[in-house]
């Protein structure tokens, strides 16, 4: 039985589809849905800005105790892993806790050439000082500017929230969650947290803006935010990509093996061609 025109096109279509599907499965072997990350839901409508989390976090991580009187809007730095900021909005004072977002696909971990920045299987993004060489490429890459470097130290560390990795391994919740008097932070599986956040928005539509910050930002983050005002009013970057940052370098990284095969082959080919040419010219000269 010969292959007629229609049959040929069918074969083409099937091959093409299988190629496309095959590529898709290869490109994302670990989709976010297969892995259950733990995360934390922060509800700014419940936060009372008591800054207990700041004090407890500093104590638990051996960092200096925070100042009692502080400016309304601060950034985390090498001496504090989390800050609670106060914003004046149309809904009155609204508070926001800031810390590392623990992205599902963190730019810092993809940037790290020693795997010192590492996304653990349970969710926290942690830093390993024995591997880090202090190049600060994680800081260049992080869309939230969260890794902080000890510039004044001769043996510097990268400081940032580690979602209390050690406490989690011991079966405890992160220190900020354990000590929040207002239950503004909730620890759990990320998927459950998103459902809980949706439930809160659904049941109190007047209290919340219809947006869970961190559900899609930067391809999804471990920390999720609820707010009564649009997030840009809380100093959150709302112009971030909704897909992961490491994806931006995938094209380049995937091209490397092909370059390594194609370029030397091409060069050798040209070299061979010019070798013969060269000999002929020499013969003519002599």
């Amino acid at each position: 039985m010969g292959l007629n025109r229609r049959g040929f096109f069918n074969v083409l279509a099937v091959t093409g589809a299988s190629l496309a599907v095959g590529k898709k499965t290869v490109a994302s072997p670990k989709s976010e849905k297969e892995i259950e990350f733990y995360g934390i839901l922060y509800d700014s409508t419940r936060c009372v800005a008591c800054r207990t989390c700041e004090y407890e976090c500093a104590a638990a991580h051996g960092l200096p105790e925070p100042q009692p009187e502080v400016e309304a809007i601060r950034k985390t730095d090498e001496t504090c892993n989390t800050v609670v900021n106060t914003f004046q909005t149309e809904n009155g004072e609204v508070y926001t806790k800031r810390q590392c977002m623990h992205c599902n696909e963190p730019a810092c971990a993809a940037a790290c050439l020693t795997q010192a920045m590492h996304k653990s299987k349970t969710g926290p993004v942690t830093w390993n000082g024995d591997k880090c060489m202090g190049c600060r490429y994680c800081m260049v890459s992080c869309p939230f500017d969260m890794p902080k470097f000890e510039y004044q130290s001769t043996n510097p560390k990268i400081q940032k929230c580690d979602m209390c990795m050690e406490r989690q391994q011991a079966g405890e919740v992160p220190i900020c969650v354990a000590n929040c008097p207002a239950e503004a932070v909730l620890f759990g599986k990320r998927r459950d947290l998103i459902n809980e956040a949706r439930r809160r928005i659904y049941e109190n539509p007047d209290q919340y803006v219809d947006h869970i910050y961190g559900e899609h930002e930067a391809g999804g983050t471990g920390w999720l935010y609820l707010s009564s005002v649009p997030f840009e009013e809380l100093g959150m970057n709302t112009h971030l990509r909704h897909s992961s940052y490491p994806e931006l370098t995938k094209g380049f990284l995937y091209s490397v093996p092909s370059v390594f095969v194609l370029v030397p082959t091409l060069l050798l080919g040209i070299h061979q061609a010019t070798v013969n040419n060269h000999l002929k010219v020499d013969d003519n000269d002599e």
């Binding site: 993809a110 510039y151 004044q152």
Partner: protein, 411 residues
């Protein structure tokens, strides 16, 4: 017996001295000490070395103005990212000479490779200064710390391998200097392999240095950030490297006048003309790519802002204008105009690389990064030491002048 004979013969090549005495005598300075270059460079280098000590004693923050939001400063942006672009001449010229077999450039390939090799060595040096924990620098190379998903991991590996490739490319000159004939034969045989390997590595890490910034998509001003940064970096490294070859050649020709034979001197002028043409075409391709990226990005409204004016200055003043001058210079075979264009191009490349890595990086930050005087002195120190070593090698090894007669036979 044979080895003894060989030793005697080698010793004859070195003027009858043993290898250690020879090396010792070669370490001594030659010529006048009190040249203007020495008088200016020695104090700067001394201050720079003191600042480097301070940096290791007190931490990076003691000398550098880099901060939590702009973590890469002058040492990374200028000495590393910009320096590598200028070292691009080595892979372009080895391609022309060893792959395309265009013999007329043969006399400048060695000096260019030497330049590239030294640039890479000092780029590594600047990197070590900038690392917070430099004692962990071998982690990505040994042990279980392969961050294979990192662009920087690739850049680091390519860089390391390329240093080795360049060393092999240059090694025949070292063998000629030491009079090691056997080694010379073996090392010359490795050249083609090293060249092919080196060109491949160069394409990957010239573009890789651009790819480093791909993840900083919101941090770099949209006029400079685009997904084609790697390609733009690669294309611009061609004319950046060749402009450096033209510029460096014009200085070498004056400083090392006696080293270059009159035949080569004439050939060099002819080369500058051809290199100018290559630069002009490269810049045309680069400009065209930028134009496409710009149209595609739809950033017309951004042009009428201070950053937009700065972008136009870079594109017109430092790419389009020197491109035109290069074209005109190659037409009229004007050596002077070629050199002028090369200098404008070099400044333009510095502007471009600093724009991507520092100036347009977090252009909206509340606290702008301005390098401290100490960072600038250290940056200059690195370059000056590089020039010192370059001069030392040039005045001892057969780089600019013809190799010894025995070396030609084994080619």
């Amino acid at each position: 017996m044979i080895t003894m004979n060989k030793e005697i013969q080698l010793a004859a090549d070195r003027g009858g001295k043993s290898i250690w005495k020879f090396l010792l005598s070669e370490l001594k300075p030659r010529g006048k000490w009190l040249t203007p270059f020495n008088l200016i460079s020695i104090p700067i280098i001394l201050v720079g070395l003191a600042l480097i000590l301070l940096r290791f004693a007190e931490g990076l923050g003691a000398v550098s103005n880099i901060n939590q939001e702009i973590p890469w400063g002058l040492w990374k942006g200028f000495n590393v990212v910009t320096g590598v672009a200028f070292a691009g001449g080595a892979y372009v010229l080895t391609f022309i000479v060893y792959i395309l077999k265009v013999d007329k450039y043969h006399s400048i390939v060695r000096v260019t490779v030497l330049n590239g090799f030294l640039a890479y060595m000092f780029y590594a040096g600047a990197l070590v200064l900038d690392l917070g924990k430099p004692w962990n620098i071998f982690n990505p190379i040994i042990g279980n710390s392969f961050g294979a998903s990192s662009v920087l991991f690739l850049v680091a590996w390519h860089f390391l391998l390329y240093i080795v490739a360049q060393l092999i490319e240059f090694s025949p000159a070292v063998a000629e200097w030491l009079g090691a004939k056997r080694a010379h034969k073996i090392l010359s045989g490795l050249t083609l392999g090293a060249v092919i390997f080196g060109i491949t590595l160069s394409t990957l890490h010239q573009s890789g240095l651009g790819a480093l910034f791909l993840m900083a998509s919101e941090k770099i001003h949209p006029l400079w950030y685009n997904e084609f940064i790697p390609l733009l970096f690669l294309v611009s490294s061609v004319f950046a490297g060749l402009s450096m070859v033209i510029f460096e050649g014009s200085i070498s020709q004056r400083v090392f006048f006696r080293k270059i034979s009159s035949k080569n001197r004439e050939a060099r002028n002819n080369m500058v003309q051809s290199l100018s043409k290559i630069c002009a075409f490269g810049m045309f391709a680069y400009l065209f790519m930028h134009f496409l990226v710009f149209i595609h990005g739809q950033h017309w409204n951004l042009l009428n802002t201070p950053m937009g004016y700065w972008f136009l200055i870079e594109m017109i003043g430092f790419v389009a204008v020197p491109m035109g001058v290069f074209f005109y210079a190659s037409r009229t075979s004007s050596l002077l105009l070629s050199r002028v264009a090369a200098i404008i191009t070099i400044v333009g490349i510095i502007v471009n690389r600093l724009n991507v890595s520092i100036i347009a990086f977090r252009w909206d930050a509340a606290v702008r990064y301005v390098p401290s005087w100490m960072e600038i002195v250290v940056s200059i120190t690195i370059i000056l030491i590089q020039i010192w070593i370059f001069r030392w090698v040039i005045s001892r090894m057969p780089v600019l002048d013809e190799p010894p007669k025995w070396a030609n036979n084994s080619h």
